[in-house]
């Protein structure tokens, strides 16, 4: 038989069954194995696990440090670090004796391990910071004509402020006939900033801006 994690109710119940026909964890007298399990148990068992309670009270009556033996938990006690190997070993050992119980125990153990892994995975997932989707956009802002003050237009565009919007570098690109267009880069957080809304806002500077196009749109 195997005893599960002593921090769980199931583990304590296993221990209760284990101690039903044993006075001590290992052998016939108190040893450090008892101390190890006592410490692993941590709390005082409830009366719903009478065997554990009896054993607990008994071991408590000793001077724990003076007990003989090496302080290690016997192999039937699966700890969080090596649950699979110890159960496999225990069931192998018991094969010739324990004809009835082992399958069920293994299943329960396997289910428990799976649960633990799922929990660990969920925990890991929740700790990982959510990726903020961002896009880098280059906008072509076209002016009405060669008389438009490009500097003023750029300032107007840059005056637009939104949560999640960062303006980047800009340059003037000649279109022809002395007319320039403003190419300006910006980085937006996809969830917070709508590109359409941004373009609309730029186009609201009707005196300066004729049209706005998206020159490039890249996901970062």
């Amino acid at each position: 038989m195997a005893v599960g994690d002593l921090k769980t109710d199931k583990g304590v119940e296993d221990l209760n069954t284990y101690l039903a026909d044993r006075s001590y964890i290992d052998g016939w007298q108190p040893t450090q194995a008892d101390v190890a399990v006592l410490e692993a148990l941590g709390k005082v068992p409830t009366s719903s696990n009478p065997h554990v309670l009896r054993w607990h009270n008994h071991i408590k009556s000793y001077d724990l440090k003076s007990l003989p033996g090496e302080k290690k938990t016997p192999s039937i006690f699966s700890t969080a670090t090596a649950p699979t190997s110890s159960t496999a070993k225990a069931s192998e050992d018991d094969d010739d004796l324990d004809l009835f119980g082992s399958d069920e125990e293994e299943d329960a153990e396997a289910a428990k391990i799976r649960e633990e892994r799922l929990k660990a995975y969920a925990e890991k997932k929740s700790k990982k910071p959510a990726v903020i989707a961002k896009s880098s956009i280059v906008l072509d802002v076209k002016s009405w004509g060669d008389e438009t003050d490009m500097k003023e237009m750029e300032n107007a565009v840059r005056s637009i402020q939104m949560d999640g919007l960062v303006w980047g570098a800009s340059k003037l690109v000649p279109v022809g006939y002395g007319i320039n267009k403003l190419q300006i880069m910006c980085v937006i957080e996809d969830e917070k900033v709508s590109v359409d809304l941004l373009i609309e806002q730029i186009q609201e500077f009707e005196d300066l801006v004729q049209s706005v196009d998206i020159a490039s749109f890249n996901k970062i």
């Binding site: 001590y24 009896r54 000793y62």
Partner: protein, 147 residues
């Protein structure tokens, strides 16, 4: 059978020691294993009480009816304690072991399960070779199958 016994060390004692419990205690006190009589007064009292119990009840456990009652009583007591008087092995455990051995030997696996606490206690006591002497080791190995 032990009705009167004289203990060498108590030679100057004019009164002979009488009675099962008293004799056992006197023998233990004068033996090398005097720690089997605990120094705590409460445990000593319990030990005496259990020795009396052996004479009054367990001695008659050769009848199945009495045996059942004795087993039930002992099983109930041993539910909460590791040794009959609590946390220390005393002469009461040893005495009970010898008295119960012949009866325990006859128990079936099912009965051993029924008196699981008694079985656990008995199994623990019988492991000491010095104590077991030439008595058979009673097997409790397969108990966990029935549990």
């Amino acid at each position: 059978m032990f009705q009167i016994i004289l203990i060498p060390e108590c030679g100057k004692n004019t009164l002979p020691i009488q009675g099962f419990s008293t004799i056992i205690q006197a023998l233990v006190a004068s033996s090398k294993c005097s720690n089997m009589l605990c120094s705590e007064k409460e445990v000593q009292a319990l030990t005496q009480q259990w020795l009396e119990y052996v004479t009054v009840c367990v001695n008659h456990a050769d009848l199945p009816v009495n045996a059942k009652r004795v087993f039930n009583e002992l099983n109930t007591v041993l539910k909460d304690v590791t040794y009959i008087t609590g946390t220390e092995k005393t002469i009461a455990d040893v005495t009970l072991y010898y008295v119960l051995h012949s009866i325990m030997k006859e128990l079936s696996g099912q009965e051993k399960i029924q008196y699981i606490h008694l079985s656990r206690w008995f199994d623990n006591i019988q492991q000491e070779e010095k104590l077991r002497q030439d008595l058979d080791l009673i097997s409790f190995n397969l108990l966990h199958i029935f549990l």
